[in-house]
């Protein structure tokens, strides 16, 4: 009976000790399990939608809006080009040869010529003039709402013709060069050459006079750059006078005085990125032919981000130079797996205490090599045998604050608001703070345990504060306004190969991220 009670006490005692007890396995346990699991099946579409649906929609909407902006801009550019082309065409029409004269449809008031020809009649062509007056009268009656050009000689068609006739007859005998004042309207009639005036019947033969509208007679605009050609032609032409008439539909585009861009810009950039690192193997310090003792590896890619303020200057339409100042806070977590034999430890003098030994190794940190000392003591009554394996799993965290100075060459390719942007250059990094701590340690040998407070010590060995690296990015830049632009570019950056004082290679990090920026152009 007493024995049973004792048994029950022992059972309860042991059970109580294990109540909800949990212990974490090795940090790479999941990776080991994952390797043995079957490959994950491709996810169905609904899965993608469930997880990424809204972000995808948001991205799509942004893309559509950006495309719309680009298209609208293209549309108006095309319109302006057409208008400009029309104006150029109109300018060319101010110097027609007789055979190139536009033939206007007779008695078709609905088809009003947009670029007309004004003919100033001679005094002795009264029959033709009467005919023209009649036609003009008819047109005016049929089209009372016809648009009127800005400058008019008279309010009514008949009066205008009369006025034009009078002015044409009062014009000096010899033609004088046209100038800008002439180009603005009426004075064209003053420059009519009597020799040309006499040739009006030929115009009538071509039917031109039959379709002239009274209103169009008043709108006289001559392209300044064509004045000399016109003058030369007018001297040779059989016409009385041929001038370009301003179309009633002329589009006037208000423009501001163009301020030339300085080519300087300033940008604020943020780059969220994954930092990956190659696995490195640490060595026992001081060894001439070091045996690999530890496997040091970054536990997993670290998510970090940097922020930078940069200034750039365009060299030409495509290329620019960019530089600035950036800041990055990086936590580098690494796992070191130790493989010692017990005899490799140095005995620690501990009179009266339990047997203790220290094990040293060199650890590669980001800023250089560091000497790590692990101090262990025998946990039970039995000390490990000399050849017994002493394994330690160390998890360390290195906290880095880095100032960065990039010097980049920039190429902007393409036209319009959206441009491809390529950047490449060097990246100087300066470590303003670097701290190292062991966050977790675990011994594989149950006969040993870490000594309480002084279980480990870390000493940096001539840390490197300045590190050279590189940065590459390729993406797109969208110019929202003349001054404001946004950019997004996948970015790759990393460190050039480095060595510690013992010529051992230090871990080189590589970061993959997306550089997001907003720029202001001056």
């Amino acid at each position: 009976m007493e024995k049973n009670i004792q048994d029950e006490r022992l059972d309860d005692y042991v059970k109580g000790s294990f109540d909800d007890y949990a212990e974490d396995p090795a940090t790479d346990m999941w990776e080991r399990i994952e390797k043995q699991l079957p490959e994950e099946e491709p996810k169905p579409v609904w899965y993608a939608w469930r997880h990424f649906g809204w972000p995808m929609v948001a991205v799509l909407v942004i893309l559509i809006l950006m495309a719309r902006l680009v298209c609208v801009e293209g549309y108006y550019e095309e319109k302006l080009q057409k208008i400009s082309a029309q104006q150029d065409q109109a300018a060319q029409n101010t110097t027609p040869t007789p055979s190139a004269m536009p033939s206007f449809p007779i008695n078709d008031a609905s088809k009003k010529p947009t670029v007309g020809t004004k003919i100033v009649e001679p005094e002795n062509t009264s029959a033709a003039l009467q005919k023209t007056d009649l036609k003009a009268k008819n047109i005016l009656q049929k089209q009372p709402q016809a648009p009127t050009p800005p400058t008019k000689i008279a309010k009514h068609g008949e009066n205008k013709i009369e006025a034009n006739k009078k002015q044409a007859l009062q014009a000096p005998a010899s033609p004088k060069p046209l100038n800008n004042d002439v180009a603005q309207g009426l004075p064209a009639a003053k420059s009519a050459d009597p020799a040309l005036i006499s040739a009006v019947p030929q115009v009538e033969k071509q039917g031109a006079s039959a379709t002239l509208q009274a209103d169009s007679l008043a709108a006289v605009t001559i392209k300044t750059e064509k004045q000399r050609d016109f003058q030369a032609l007018a001297q040779k032409s059989p016409l009385l006078s041929v001038v370009n008439l301003e179309t009633p539909n002329t589009v006037t585009i208000p423009t501001k005085k163009y301020k030339e861009a300085s080519g300087w810009y300033m940008g604020l950039f943020v780059t969220p990125h994954y930092t990956v690192e190659k696995t490195k193997q640490a060595v026992r310090p001081g060894s001439i032919n070091p045996r690999r003792l530890f496997i040091s590896q970054q536990e997993r890619p670290q998510v970090s981000s940097d922020i930078s303020l940069r200034v750039g200057k365009k060299i030409n339409s495509r290329f620019a130079i960019e530089s600035g100042l950036g800041y990055q806070h990086l936590n580098r977590k690494a796992t070191h797996l130790a493989r010692f034999e017990y005899r490799e430890g140095q005995a620690i003098q501990n009179p009266g205490g339990v047997e203790s030994r220290s094990f040293d190794y060199d650890l590669n940190t980001y800023s250089g090599s560091a000497s790590v000392t692990l101090r262990m003591e025998v946990s039970g009554s039995d000390a490990p045998a000399a050849l017994e394996r002493v394994g330690a799993l160390i998890t360390s965290r290195e906290s880095l604050q880095i100032l960065q100075v990039p010097v980049l060459g920039v190429a902007r390719l393409g036209q319009g608001r959206m441009k491809a942007v390529l950047k490449a250059g060097v990246l100087g990094s300066y470590l303003i703070k670097n701290s190292f701590e062991i966050t977790e340690n675990r011994l594989e040998n149950n006969k040993l345990r870490f000594r309480g407070q002084d279980g480990y010590a870390v000493q940096f060995n001539r840390p490197q504060h300045f590190i050279w690296g590189y940065q590459l990015s390729a993406g797109a830049e969208f110019r929202l306004t003349k001054n404001l632009s946004f950019s997004a570019a996948p970015t790759l950056s990393g460190d050039f190969q480095r060595k510690d004082p013992q010529q051992g290679r230090l871990p080189g990090q590589m970061a993959v991220g997306v550089n997001l920026g907003v720029g202001w152009w001056f």
């Binding site: 004792q6 048994d7 006490r9 022992l10 059972d11 005692y13 042991v14 059970k15 109580g16 000790s17 294990f18 909800d20 007890y21 949990a22 212990e23 974490d24 396995p25 090795a26 346990m29 999941w30 080991r32 399990i33 994952e34 043995q36 699991l37 079957p38 994950e40 099946e41 946990s379 039970g380 009554s381 594989e444 149950n446």
Partner: protein
Amino acid sequence: MTEPNLQACIRGERKAQKAFFEHFKGKMFALCLRYANSREDAEDVLQEGFVKVFRDLQQYSGAGNFEGWVRKIFVNTALQQLQKQRRGPLLVELSEQDFASEPEPYLGEEVPAKNMIRILQKLPPGFRTVFNLHVLEGYSHPEIAEILNISVGTSKSQLLRAKAHFRALLEGSLTA
């Protein structure tokens, strides 16, 4: 900690499987440590156990305690590993008088679970197995007999000896 999504685990979604692993890893590793000879062995059992759980998850009917079902898989995996490691019989026959005179340890002082695991690992595998199954997992002797393919009497005698051995080790640990 959030409950793992079993359906997603059955579908083989890696994220859900990892959440499942994170949820159970601590408790199951403690279990493995109690059965295994060393930490490395315990990690091997844990690894194999999780792979089995993910493989057999769709066989879980939903009846009974899910954690109990998972524990059972890990216990079986640990036992299989012990049998693989030992070429001879799993159970160690020791004379009863070896431990009959062991004094009852003073149980007022609490021993941390970590130390208790060390003590358990010092037990011969056969004793450790029966002790674990009966005292900590709550299996009856007929169940243990069926699991280990031994007689009920052998199970009882092994437990008796295991406890005696355990007491001795515990006493040594407390007095050290």
